[in-house]
């Protein structure tokens, strides 16, 4: 890779007051034709392009992005990475991603600040205890690290949690995945963009797809605001807007798009050195390297593309946060935002071919796509390059909604959807 980032490049550039750093990726105009076009320049789309170029030697490809790269859900999530899913198919998928995370900074020569600070999931009632214990057993059978913690052990692991038995939803225990953690989300998009660009991938921003041209059951290309681009393979990775693209191709997907919110507080000194999630009261919290509390709320229950969220949802989340962490009662919240998440009926993603030859969809990640970014890109690239799914994503096909072979992670995924 040209212009390798290292301690030496840092020293060298410091001599010129950091004014001579090269652009991390080009800003090309679209060519007339590509071997494949990825629609959507978020983490998943850029990772797909990166692995298409790196592992499948497809270098005449483009990523088209309506806005700017990483400006959608990639930059809007709460950066949590874990793989403690219940079902075998999900465990395979998410742990594949987690293994790629562990070497990602080296692989793309870009510091994604991956921090394995652990993710703890709390249990607040007897059913939670049973479900979470069952999930730790399932995880361990699949080779994924997971331990059950008693309420005392939870308190020891994170002393600021209120484990008093007289709160509305007392903490009865929790699970811990120590390999889980967080990463800097925009670095993931930038790093993959830089890596893909260095291998010749064209990343075209401000390029909105207006239509998909079909020749009967084969794709012919895409209409964009920068003109027609001919291609035989289109990989759609458009998150909340997947259905919009699908409608252009004349197909429907089993998705509903809903706003999901997050918020951050003012920065404070280190107080939480892990990620704590609670399914029952729907609140999760971690602390960014800048010191802000990063808090995730729930989705609105209706379809909307507004990229904001309802106030009552934030209110509910903050009530739960305050009961679990009374120490935060005087913290000020600084920013709140929403992203549009595309949710499948079984709360599992779709990485699949379609009935139209050359049209592929990677969607339905719902509220938890960030954690899967490297794995999703790797497996989607495999699916596009070979026109066949990899064994790790074969269960996540579109046909499961016809066959009934769903991967039902509702509730089982360690967080409510």
């Amino acid at each position: 890779m040209k212009n390798n980032y290292s301690i030496f490049s840092l020293l060298k550039n410091s001599l010129s007051y950091h004014e001579n750093w090269k652009q991390a990726w080009r800003d090309p105009e679209p060519k007339k034709e590509y071997d494949a076009v990825i629609v959507g320049g978020g983490g998943h789309g850029l990772a797909t392009a990166f692995y298409l170029a790196k592992k499948h030697n497809m270098k005449n490809i483009a990523v088209v992005e309506k806005g700017w790269i990483g400006g959608g859900n990639t930059g809007r999530n709460t950066t949590i990475i874990r793989s403690n899913y219940l079902w075998d198919a999900s465990a395979g998928l998410y742990d594949h991603a987690l293994k790629l995370w562990e070497n990602l900074s080296q692989e793309i020569n870009y510091n994604v600040m991956f921090s394995q600070r652990g993710v703890m999931n709390l249990a607040h009632n007897l059913q939670d205890v049973r479900d979470l214990k069952r999930r730790t057993h399932a995880n361990r059978l699949n080779g994924i690290d997971a331990v059950w913690l008693t309420a005392e052990e939870v308190k020891k692991f994170c002393p600021i949690i209120n484990t008093s038995p007289d709160i509305r939803y007392p903490v009865l225990g929790g699970t811990l995945q120590r390999r889980a953690g967080t990463a800097r989300h925009d670095a993931v998009a930038w790093g993959y963009a830089r890596g893909a660009d260095a291998m010749g991938v064209d990343i075209i921003q401000n390029c909105e797809v207006k239509g998909i041209k079909r020749n009967r059951d084969t794709v012919d290309g895409i209409e964009t605001n920068k003109g027609f681009i001919k291609t035989k393979k289109i990989g759609v990775v458009a998150a909340g807007h997947s259905s919009v693209i699908a409608n252009m191709a004349g197909i429907r997907l089993p998705l509903e798009s809903k706003p999901l919110q997050a918020l951050v507080s003012e920065p404070v000194k280190p107080i939480i050195d892990t990620v704590i999630m609670s399914n029952a009261v729907h609140a999760y919290v971690s602390q960014s390297d800048k010191g802000e509390l990063v808090i995730g709320a729930g989705t609105d229950a209706y379809v909307s593309y507004t990229q904001r969220g309802s106030h009552d949802i934030v209110e509910g989340t903050l009530k739960a946060i305050l009961e679990l962490y009374p120490i935060f009662s005087r913290m000020k919240m600084l920013r709140q935002w929403g992203g549009i998440v595309d949710i499948c009926p079984d709360a599992s993603p779709i990485i699949s071919k379609t009935n139209i030859k050359g049209l592929y969809f990677n969607c339905g990640w719902g509220t938890g796509g960030f954690k899967a970014t490297p794995g999703s890109g790797d497996l989607f690239a495999h699916t596009i390059a070979n026109d066949e799914p990899h064994k790790l994503n074969s269960a996540f096909n579109l046909n499961r909604f016809v066959s009934g072979d769903l991967v039902d992670e509702h509730g089982a995924a360690a967080v409510a959807h």
């Binding site: 259905s243 429907r252 229950a301 209706y302 507004t306 009926p345 016809v402």
Partner: protein, 91 residues
């Protein structure tokens, strides 16, 4: 977050209501004769429109009645509300 004009109770906050998803999906008349593809289409496939969408809502913390709403999902603006069984307003 927005205000919904319930046809039975009047204007109330959206948090009083439950969204029931896409409206006018007709239940199959002969369920036993449906193919797997038709079942998938009925049960799972949705238009999920960005723009004007016809949908069902239930006033779950009020009169608990179902009704239809025409809403622009790109800005949450409600264009019309009409009762179950009624034809959607034509504007």
């Amino acid at each position: 977050m927005f205000i919904i004009n319930c046809p039975f109770c009047g204007e109330r906050d959206q948090s009083e209501f439950s969204a029931g998803g896409e409206a006018h999906i007709v239940r199959p008349k002969q369920p036993t004769e449906l193919t797997d593809d038709e079942w998938a289409d009925f049960l799972f496939m949705r238009k999920n429109i960005k723009g004007i969408q016809f949908e069902r809502w239930n006033h779950s913390h009020g009169c608990r009645k179902w009704f239809n709403v025409i809403r622009d999902t790109s800005n949450d603006k409600i264009h019309a509300v009409y009762k179950m069984g009624e034809k959607p307003p034509s504007n």
